[in-house]
Amino acid sequence: MSAVTQAHDSYLESFARFEEGAAGSGQEWVRSIRGSAMARFFELGFPTTHDEDWRFTNVAPIAETSFRLAEEGHVSPTARELERFGFSDLAGIRLVFVNGRYEPGLSSLQPLPEGVKVGSLVHELTTDPGTLEQHLGRYADYQHDAFCALNTAFMEDGAFVHVPRRTALSEPIYLLYVSAPTADPAITHPRNLVVAGEESQATIVEDYVSLNGDTHFSNVVTEMVIGENSVLSHYRIERESAQAFHVTTLRAQQGRSSNLASHSLLMGGALVRNNVHPVLAGDGGDCLINGLFMGTGEQHLDNYMKVEHAGPHCNSRQFYNGILDGRSRGVFHGRIIVHKDAQKTNAKQTNRNLLLSNEAQIDTKPQLEIHADDVKCTHGATIGQIDEDAIFYLRSRGIAEASARTMLLSAFARESLGRMKNESIRKHLEGLVGQWLPSGKLLEEAI
């Protein structure tokens, strides 16, 4: 029996146990979604590089590892232990999840405007599942995506955010996902649902960290339902250990004239797949998809964008910058689908990459599928090294070589960071990016 088949069987056993005790298992709709997702996972199996969507990313290390569903009983970190993750500057609402489980003791919920709900999915499943039944599992595609199917089969905990119509949250909602040490390699399936009513506004930050260097697998799905004329910002930070596997899907359903800004910063993990999938379903929607990925060592960072224009007069802009050092490998797959009724679509895609070593590698692939006839779609990709002419130019002005390199890397990273509007979050990310640089910090933006 192959390792993969064994792993499949272990998912099945694990599912049988999970299904009985999990929150929401008493509700038929939950059982039904979980059951059909599990069945679908078995039919699909883990993807291989023969699958066009996975051509550049081999998930065999995930398929062949025998993960155990992270159970309760781990030693939970103290608030002090979490301080090193340096998010204290982010005021506002904080939810902490340890090995996929909501930890109220580490979280801080502030008074919220009337009607706003921020809490754990478990809590919502067991107390007030009405909104969940309407949305949970309705958008993320578990019919075609095996990881999404696996997450959906095991979905139980994560963040639930509901912002009612005409409500604006001024502070970001910060979600911290901590991987704590376990005896066996652990798998978690964080499942987040954000429902934003008409003319609402909110900012969500998902930040993934590891307490130590253990192998673990975070298999994340976030669904966002963005109501008419509402404005949502989503930030994803992946900074788990160099042994971590991380597959994540952001699936956003955008209503008429809604506005989404999705920002990603990938710097941790051994094998990371970052799926961003907005569907511009109404007229005049707008989405900005912005990302920075920075790899080193043997890291593999894969960004798979799927921007679906389903309604007319929508704008989408994708900007992804990659910096790859060591023997790391990056992937940018930018798919734009313009459905036949999505006339006057304006879609743009730019992927820029800097390779800092001879062994680093990037695969970049635009994929445009256009079924309407009055659209504007542009795409462009660049791959290059640090510009040695620019280095010499800076050195000839008295700037030391190391500083000159930092200046150019900072400028490249700031292209992405500069698109992040929320200042406190941007500063948090600037700090993280700075730590990654040889200089330990980003150079200042202006004098």
Binding site: I399, A446, I447
Partner: protein
């Protein structure tokens, strides 16, 4: 101030400088003229420390120091400045930021206190006026999207801010219209001083109408073949480079 002796340099297997000898004194404006491919720009870049050129023989003494033994940034800190023929675009790095970083790197090297933005900005604005440049230049990325003339002016702005002891202008006049040329020239002239030497590398005599040199040297095929005063430039303008080229040995043919 600067003594170049028997300087040989090559790129790959191609020897470009074949024994350059040149003396430049403090207070002097020295013009180096020559036809295309004579090695003018190579000489300028070798002096600034460009590593793509390999120095195979000779030495360069600057203020009593072995210039060739210094990194480019150390040369800049010691007061050497090269105004590039083709200034490099650096997206994402602000012009003012670069100027302040360079200014302070040089001050630090000299044991002076670094200036903060509050003290640096007035100085910068004063220099902008000198070159008739809009303050908007400061917030733009270094040379990004600049016109040819703007790039050249930006080089002279850096020169004016950094106040080097030895300024090397590599074809700063190329591609400039007459108005821009006058502005650039007056910027350079304002920097003439008894403590400073300026090497003007140019293909055309025109610039020398505005920056009047004390000495003129003609570089042909990697060697200085004629030296003289300002009148040499005028003579060249009249007779063309073929006049001096004819007087020198033919180039070694490149083996096919």
């Amino acid at each position: 101030m600067l003594a170049i002796r028997n300087l040989h340099a090559k790129v790959g297997d191609r020897e470009i400088l074949k024994g350059v000898d040149l003396e430049v004194n403090a207070g002097e404006v020295c013009a180096i003229m020559g036809p295309n491919g004579s090695g003018k720009s190579t000489l300028a870049h070798v002096l600034a420390g460009r590593e793509t050129y390999e120095v195979t023989a000779g030495d360069v003494i600057y203020e009593g120091k072995n210039l060739l033994g210094l990194y480019p940034e150390a040369r800049a800190c010691e007061g050497v400045f090269l105004a590039f023929q083709y200034p490099v675009e650096i997206p994402g790095v602000g012009n003012a930021y670069l100027l302040k970083a360079a200014f302070n790197a040089i001050r630090k090297h000299r044991g002076l206190e670094e200036l903060d933005a509050m003290d640096f900005l007035p100085l910068l604005k004063e220099k902008l006026k000198l070159l008739d440049m809009d303050e908007e230049f400061l917030s733009r990325a270094v040379n990004e999207g600049f016109s040819g003339g703007e790039k050249k002016r930006n080089e002279i702005l850096q020169l004016a801010v950094l106040e080097p002891r030895l300024a090397i202008l590599d074809e700063t006049d190329s591609g400039l219209d007459i108005d821009a040329l006058k502005i650039v020239a007056s910027g350079v002239n304002a920097l003439r001083s008894p403590e400073r030497a300026i090497i003007v590398v140019t293909h055309y005599q025109r610039l020398l109408n505005y920056i009047v040199p004390d000495t003129v040297h003609v570089l042909v095929n990697g060697r200085i073949v004629r030296s003289g005063g300002r009148e040499l430039a005028l003579e060249l303008e009249d007779k063309g480079y073929s006049w001096v080229e004819a007087a020198t040995q033919p180039a070694v043919p490149i083996p096919s």
